[in-house]
């Protein structure tokens, strides 16, 4: 099956701040926020990208959305390379791959009614005005904002966070996308309404057979909405596979630490030491070999000499660790 959306060896390098000695030597140091990321998501599937702040997960999302130009590598949509598209040629791609914003309070124009916010993308992508109302009602029904009249003529401040996040999703769905990318879609919402928004996202994905990519630091949330997961560390995918399997038996030591650290609402839980040392290293001074070895409880000589490539360790499962 052809992946709906895929990335091939994506790299994004940002110019890093130059120290005096860099200037003197004519060095232009770069920070590789994303360093060779490949992934693919089929229609009707959801991939979660999980990792700590600074691991490159949001930059990966921006590259996939073509909001950011990749330094190298390609983005494929329905099998077509879209990396080279510019300007008007990008429009069809933009209407087919939609972003669900993190903070619903920032994502909506406060002076627009909900109807106007939902109309904007339809106008931008050139849909005939007589079809607008039907599209909008369809999207509102999809996110279970019922009846639509109760919301469409209101302004964002009149809605609760959970309702507003559903509107944000409706706005993403109104153009009939084939793929959605959601960056921390519920992190700004209260716990009691998160579940509702996640349920709506999951149902929309199933009903419309969308390819979905969720970016989150919360493995419990990923487990709930994504069949597959990719764990990122310092710009690279260090482990990927079916979410349930990865959580049940993590192959990479970093994933092991992440799984152990996820808080669970249970009274009896393991409070042992985390199998990880220290904090994230300075991205500009990563250790030689495996980037994780400084913090790894299992590191040995080979880890300093050789960076482990992401390799297949079992059907559907990949890990970048010499010991996996």
């Amino acid at each position: 099956m052809v992946a709906m959306i895929a990335a091939n060896d994506l790299v994004k390098a940002f110019p890093a701040s130059r120290r005096m000695r860099d200037v003197l030597r004519g060095h232009r140091p770069v920070l590789r926020a994303v360093n060779g990321v490949s992934l693919e998501v089929a229609a009707g599937r959801a991939l979660g990208i999980v990792g700590e702040s600074g691991c490159g997960k949001t930059t990966t999302a921006r590259l996939l959305l073509r909001l950011e130009e990749a330094t190298s590598g390609t983005v494929l949509f329905e099998g077509q390379n879209v990396s080279a598209l510019r300007g008007a040629a990008l429009l069809p791609f933009r209407s087919r791959v939609q972003l669900v914003f993190q903070n619903p309070f920032d994502a909506m124009n406060p002076r627009f009614t909900i109807r106007r916010s939902l109309t904007e993308p339809l106008r931008n992508f050139g849909l005939a005005p007589e079809e607008w109302e039907a599209r909008i009602r369809e999207a509102m029904a999809r996110v279970r904002l019922d009846p639509p009249e109760a919301y469409l003529d209101r302004h964002p401040h009149e809605l609760s966070g959970g309702q507003l996040q559903r509107v944000v999703l409706a706005r993403a769905l109104v153009t009939h996308p084939r793929a959605i990318i959601a960056d921390e879609p519920v992190s700004m919402l209260d716990v009691s309404v998160r579940a509702g928004v996640l349920n709506v996202l999951r149902r929309a994905r199933d009903e419309l057979q969308l390819a979905a990519i969720y970016i989150s630091h919360d493995l419990a949330l990923i487990r709930y909405v994504c069949e597959d997961v990719a764990v990122m560390y310092l710009g690279r995918i260090v482990e990927s596979g079916p979410t349930a399997e990865v959580i049940a038996a993590p192959a990479h030591p970093y994933t092991r630490a992440l799984v152990a650290a996820v808080p669970v609402p249970r009274v009896d839980q393991d409070r042992g030491d985390l199998p990880i040392k220290g904090g994230l290293p300075d991205q500009m001074n990563q250790p030689s070999g495996c980037a994780f070895r400084d913090r790894c409880p299992a590191a040995f000589a080979r880890c300093a000499e050789e960076a482990p490539p992401l390799r297949t360790i079992a059907p559907g499962r990949h890990a970048a660790c010499h010991l996996a």
Binding site: E52, S53, A150, S160, G161, G162, D190, V191, S192, V193, R194, A195, G196, L198, N199, H217, D218, L219, A220, L221, R223, Y224, A244, I247, A257, L258, V259, A260, A261, V262, P263, V264, P265, R266, V267, Q269, R271, D273, L274, I276, G279, L280
Partner: protein, 343 residues
């Protein structure tokens, strides 16, 4: 029970042009000596306002309208500002949500520690230097980093530094407002471990204000669940989280994505909390509660339902029968239509 802090019927109001907002509207709970109490609830439930009111750090528009908060035998509500200031740092200290707010960005961390230790604690500079190093070691930071500026620290290190600062003068009570919310899971866990270790090593008491039931489950001995300015349930963590008596607590537990619970739909609590400008009469959760009864138009009183387990719900006695129903999504979705515009 020997309580370090005893809060009774505390009310905190914000003055606004359209009338008082009753952010905390009659909260009662105890903080026993040597225990970590989680104050949990959604945004706007009054948990942060309550924490700040106890600490005496409130915006000008806020005031304590009623009630008492007896800390080490003295009522914080009636203390003069001067007496209160004497308690700050020495007997009770505050850790704000973002550590950057606790740390001065243009002063080295060591200098900030010295300022508190010398100015507030009356230590000599030499003694203060030694104490600062000791405090850094206590929270797992290298004493050499005292020479660093706050911006050189990562989020987790800043939070540790701001805890070290709060501990400078050996307070008996630490009030921490969402201390780990802004941190990544691994760092979150490391900071919580530091807090737990400090609690047992120093015999501290802590109030941990959080929206995250999982943080409470991991770090706290007791929990106080707040909803719309009221305490709806409180007690030992095990009793409250494993056998919740209030429908809101049941809902909170089921709304959480759980790493260990397989598939299935999450169970949302439909609707949103009521306005605290004109709170509804009777039980404030009634509009979102699937188990609402005719009696709920009457205000439920916080009572001790079983040993040390308090709840404000008329149907608390039926809780064992309601709990299985509360884990079904359909139970909650039936009330969705009416609750949509309750706010």
């Amino acid at each position: 029970m020997d309580a370090l802090l005893s809060v009774r019927d505390l009310a905190v109001h914000y003055r606004t042009a359209v009338g008082p907002v009753r952010a905390v509207d009659g909260a009662s709970f105890d903080v026993p000596a040597r225990s970590i109490v989680g104050l949990v609830g959604e945004s706007g439930c009054g948990k942060s306002t309550l924490g700040r009111a106890l600490m005496g750090v409130m915006p000008r528009s806020a005031s304590i309208a009623a009630g008492s908060a007896v800390f080490e035998g003295r009522d914080l509500v009636t203390l003069s500002p001067a007496e209160r200031r004497k308690l700050l740092w020495r007997r009770m200290a505050f850790v704000p949500q973002t550590a950057m707010n606790a740390l001065d960005p243009v002063q080295r961390l060591g200098a900030q520690m010295l300022e508190v230790l010398v100015e507030r604690g009356g230590l000599s500079r030499a003694a203060a230097g030694a104490r600062a190093a000791e405090l850094f070691a206590l929270v797992g930071l290298d004493a050499g980093r005292l020479r660093d500026w706050p911006h050189q620290f990562s989020g987790g290190m800043r939070q540790r530094a701001s805890i070290a600062l709060a501990l400078a003068l050996n307070p008996a009570l630490l009030i921490a407002d969402e201390p780990v919310t802004a941190l990544d899971v691994i760092v979150q866990r490391q900071v919580l471990d530091v807090m737990r270790e400090l609690q047992s090593r120093l015999g501290l008491s802590m109030i941990l204000v959080t929206h995250d039931v999982a943080v409470v489950a991991y770090a706290c001995d007791r929990v106080v669940v707040m909803y719309a300015g009221r305490v709806v349930e409180s007690g030992p963590v095990r009793a409250v989280l494993e056998a919740p008596l209030h429908p809101y607590t049941m809902g909170l537990m089921n709304a959480f994505p759980d790493l260990e619970r397989a598939g299935g739909e999450l169970v949302p609590i439909e609707g949103s909390p009521p306005s605290l400008l004109h709170p509804p009469a009777g039980c404030r959760f009634a509009a979102r509660c699937p188990f609402v009864s005719s009696r709920c138009t009457e205000d439920p009183v916080l009572v001790e339902q079983s040993a040390d387990h308090h709840v404000a719900c008329w149907r608390a006695a039926e809780a064992p029968a309601l709990r299985p129903l509360a884990s079904e999504a359909t139970t909650w979705s039936n009330i969705a239509k009416d609750a949509t515009w309750s706010r």
